[in-house]
C-alpha cells in the first residue's frame, strides 16, 4: 500500500514538474499568448482534415501532449473535403484545411448550428519542378504554365513552350482530383478550379510524382515545397514569373507574398463549442505560440506566417471571431494581412 501511494505521489510531482517546465519554457518564449496551460487539463481533442496540414497538427499535438499528459489529441486525415464534412456536422473539434471553407460547407454549418473560428496557421508553397537533366527551364511565366496545363493545350514538347527550348517531349505529373493541391493549382494557373488538360499523369501520392519527374528528362510537375526539399538532389526548382520577374519559392518569398500565385495559407477551423473547453483553448494557443511556430517551421517544414499574422490569428481565436473571411472564395491573389486587417 505504502509503495503504491508513494509511486502515485511521485507521478504527481513529476507531472507538476512537467507542467511547471512547460509554463516556464513558454514564458521564456516571450509571447504572452502562448501559455500552454497546466497538466491538470484532460479530455480528448479530435482533429480531422487535410493530409497537407496533418503533419503540422501531428507535430504540434505530439509536443502538446508531452506537456499535458492528461490530454489526448488524435489526428485523422480524410482530406480537407472529408474533414469538413465531419466538422460541419459537428463531429470533430478541429478541421485541418488546405483551403478556405467553401460556400456549400458554410451552408452546412448553418443548417447544423455549428459555429466556428477560422485560424490561419502557416503558408504552403507549391513548387514547380523539372528533372536534374533539364538545364533550360530555370524559370517559367504564369502564362507559360497556363499554356502547358490548360485544357486543350497543344504543348507536346518543350519547344512549344518557349522558342529556344529544345524539342524534348514534355511529360506532366501532378496531384489528382481528390487533393486540395489540385484545386489550388488549377484555379491559380488555369483560372478555374478543376480545369486541366486530361493527358497528364495524376497521383495522390506526391512521392510517385517526385519519381516521375526525376526519371523523365522532359518531366514537369507540381507539389508541396516540402517534397522538393526532401528531393533536392533529384529535382530542379523552377522560378515563377508573375509579371515581376522570376521568383523561387523560399520561406521569405512565400510569407511576404512575392511568390505568387502558387503560395497558399493553411488553416485550422475550430468549432466554437470545442473552443469553450479549456484543453482545446490551451491546444490552439500552443499551436500559435512561439513553440508551436517553431514546430511548424522546423519540424513540419512549412512556412511560418509573420509574427504579426500569428498575433492576428490568436486575437481571432481569443475574441471568438466567428465565420470565414473568405466567404467561400479561394485565396489566390489575396493577402492574408489585408483580409485579417480589414475586420479590425
Amino acid at each position: 500500500m505504502m509503495g503504491a501511494g508513494g509511486s502515485v505521489l511521485k507521478k504527481r510531482s513529476m507531472m507538476l514538474f512537467c507542467a511547471w517546465a512547460a509554463i516556464a519554457a513558454v514564458g521564456c518564449g516571450g509571447r504572452g499568448g502562448g501559455r500552454a496551460g497546466g497538466s491538470d487539463l484532460s479530455g480528448t481533442i479530435e482533429i480531422d482534415g487535410s493530409s497537407t496540414v496533418s503533419p503540422i497538427s501531428q507535430s504540434v499535438a505530439e509536443e502538446f501532449m508531452a506537456q499535458n499528459p492528461g490530454v489526448r489529441v488524435v489526428v485523422s486525415t480524410s482530406g480537407t473535403g472529408g474533414g469538413m464534412k465531419k466538422f460541419t456536422a459537428g463531429e470533430v473539434d478541429i478541421c485541418d484545411a488546405s483551403r478556405p471553407i467553401l460556400t456549400e460547407e458554410l451552408q452546412k454549418t448553418k443548417e447544423n448550428g455549428v459555429e466556428f473560428i477560422e485560424v490561419p496557421i502557416a503558408f504552403d508553397g507549391l513548387s514547380v519542378v523539372v528533372s536534374k537533366q533539364n538545364d533550360w527551364a530555370d524559370h517559367l511565366t504564369v502564362q507559360e504554365l497556363k499554356k502547358i496545363w490548360e485544357p486543350g493545350s497543344t504543348v507536346k514538347s518543350w519547344a512549344d513552350v518557349r522558342s529556344g527550348f529544345p524539342a524534348e517531349p514534355i511529360a506532366l505529373f501532378g496531384a489528382d482530383q481528390a487533393s486540395g493541391t489540385f484545386d489550388y493549382f488549377t484555379e491559380a494557373v488555369n483560372g478555374k478550379k478543376g480545369s486541366i488538360r486530361p493527358d497528364y499523369s495524376p497521383s495522390a501520392d506526391d512521392n510517385v510524382l517526385v519519381k516521375g519527374v526525376a526519371g523523365t528528362k522532359g518531366g514537369l510537375g507540381f507539389f508541396g515545397l516540402a517534397y522538393y526539399e526532401a528531393n533536392m538532389d533529384k529535382l530542379n526548382l523552377v522560378a515563377i514569373d508573375n509579371g515581376k520577374g522570376p521568383v523561387k519559392p523560399t520561406p521569405e518569398t512565400i510569407s511576404d507574398g512575392s511568390y505568387s500565385p502558387l503560395s497558399r495559407p493553411l488553416f485550422i477551423y475550430v468549432s466554437k463549442k470545442a473552443a469553450d473547453r479549456p484543453e482545446v483553448q490551451a491546444f490552439v494557443k500552443f499551436y500559435l505560440s512561439k513553440e508551436g511556430v517553431d514546430l511548424i517551421a522546423n519540424k513540419a517544414k512549412y512556412v511560418a506566417l509573420t509574427p504579426a499574422l500569428y498575433d492576428m490569428s490568436l486575437k481571432r481565436f481569443e475574441s471568438r471571431k466567428l465565420g470565414s473571411v473568405f466567404n467561400g472564395k479561394e485565396t489566390i491573389g489575396m493577402r492574408l494581412e489585408d483580409l485579417l486587417k480589414d475586420e479590425g
Partner: protein, 301 residues
C-alpha cells in the same frame, strides 16, 4: 478435360510425353512467378525496413518531431484488438450461418436468394462496407446523440466482420458439403439424433475447411484501411485502445500515413518496417489457425 481437348491430336506416346512435360513446366512457372515477385518484394522490404525494426519500434508511439523515435505501438495494438473482436464476431456468426444453410434450411426460393446474395457480397469492394458501416452507425448516433460509437473499435470490428462474413460462410459451407454422405447416414443409422450427427460427426470433420475460410477472411481484414478511415479510425494517436468503445488506429493506416510523407525515413524505412510487422502479425494469426487446424485434423484420424 484440358488434357482430352488439347491432347487429342497427339496420340503417339512421344507426343503425350512432350505434352505432359510442357504442362508441368507451365505449372511450375506459374508458381515460380508468384514466388519470385514475392521474394523481390520481401527483399526490398527487409532492406528498407530492417534497420528500423526493434523492440523500441513496437512499443513507441508514432512521432513526427523525432522520426528516428517513431514507433507503431498504438497501431499495432489497434490491429490486434480489431482482429480479436472480428474473430469473436465472425466465428459464431459465420459458422452458425453455414451450418443453418447447409444442414437445416429448407431448399426453397428464399434460401436460394440468401445463398445468391452471400456469394455476391463476397465480391463487394471494401469501401462499400465502410459506407454501410457509416450509415448503420449513423442511426446509432442519432439514437444516442453522439458519434462516439461510430468511431469506436467495435464499429470497425462489426463493419469488417460484415465484410468477411460472406467469405467465411461460403468456405464453411463448402467444408460442410465435403463431409461424405455415408458419414452422416452411418451416424443416423446408429441411432444418433440430427444434432448429435452434426455436432459429433459433421462439424469435427469440417473444422479444417472452416478454419481456412477464417484465415482468408482475417487476412483480408487485416490489410484494410479505407473502410476504417471512412468510419472514423484515427491516423495519429499515441495511446492504445482502452476498450472496445475507444478510438483506435490500425497498421495499414499508419503505413499509409508514413508512405506519403516527404521524409525518406518515414517514406521508406519506417513504412517498410511497419509492413514487416503487419506481415508478422498476419503470419502469427495464420500460424495459430493452421496449428489449430492440424490439431483438429489429427483428432479426426
Amino acid at each position: 478435360m484440358a488434357f482430352s481437348a488439347a491432347g487429342s491430336p497427339k496420340t503417339t506416346a512421344r507426343g503425350r510425353l512432350v505434352f505432359e512435360t510442357s504442362f508441368r513446366i507451365v505449372c511450375t512457372a506459374a508458381v515460380l512467378f508468384g514466388f519470385v515477385v514475392l521474394c523481390f518484394l520481401a527483399q526490398q522490404l527487409i532492406k528498407d525496413g530492417w534497420g528500423s525494426l526493434s523492440f523500441k519500434f513496437l512499443e513507441s508511439p508514432p512521432s513526427s518531431n523525432y522520426p528516428e523515435r517513431a514507433g507503431i505501438y498504438p497501431a499495432l495494438m489497434g490491429t490486434i484488438w480489431l482482429m480479436g473482436l472480428i474473430l469473436i464476431l465472425t466465428v459464431p456468426l459465420g459458422i452458425g450461418s453455414a451450418i443453418y444453410l447447409e444442414e437445416f434450411a429448407p431448399r426453397n426460393g428464399f434460401t436460394r436468394i440468401i445463398q445468391l446474395n452471400i456469394t455476391n457480397l463476397a465480391g463487394v469492394p471494401s469501401i462499400v462496407y465502410g459506407l454501410l458501416g457509416v450509415a448503420a452507425f449513423g442511426f446509432a448516433a442519432e439514437a444516442t446523440g453522439s458519434q462516439d460509437l461510430r468511431k469506436s473499435l467495435l464499429a470497425g470490428a462489426v463493419t469488417m466482420s460484415l465484410m468477411i462474413l460472406p467469405l467465411v460462410i461460403t468456405a464453411s459451407q463448402e467444408a460442410l458439403k465435403a463431409v461424405p454422405r455415408y458419414h452422416r447416414e452411418g451416424s443416423l443409422a446408429l441411432g444418433a439424433t440430427r444434432w448429435e450427427m452434426i455436432s459429433r460427426i459433421v462439424i469435427p470433420s469440417a473444422i479444417p475447411g472452416m478454419m481456412t475460410g477464417i484465415i482468408l477472411g482475417l487476412s483480408r481484414a487485416i490489410g484494410e484501411a479505407a473502410p476504417l478511415i471512412t468510419l472514423g479510425a484515427v491516423t495519429y494517436l499515441t495511446f492504445s485502445p482502452r476498450g472496445p468503445l475507444d478510438l483506435y488506429s490500425v497498421l495499414p493506416i499508419q503505413i499509409f500515413d508514413w508512405a506519403q510523407r516527404p521524409e525518406q525515413i518515414f517514406q521508406r524505412e519506417k513504412s517498410a518496417a511497419a509492413i514487416i510487422v503487419l506481415m508478422g502479425v498476419l503470419l502469427l494469426f495464420n500460424a495459430a489457425a493452421i496449428f489449430l487446424r492440424s490439431a483438429a485434423r489429427k483428432r479426426l484420424h
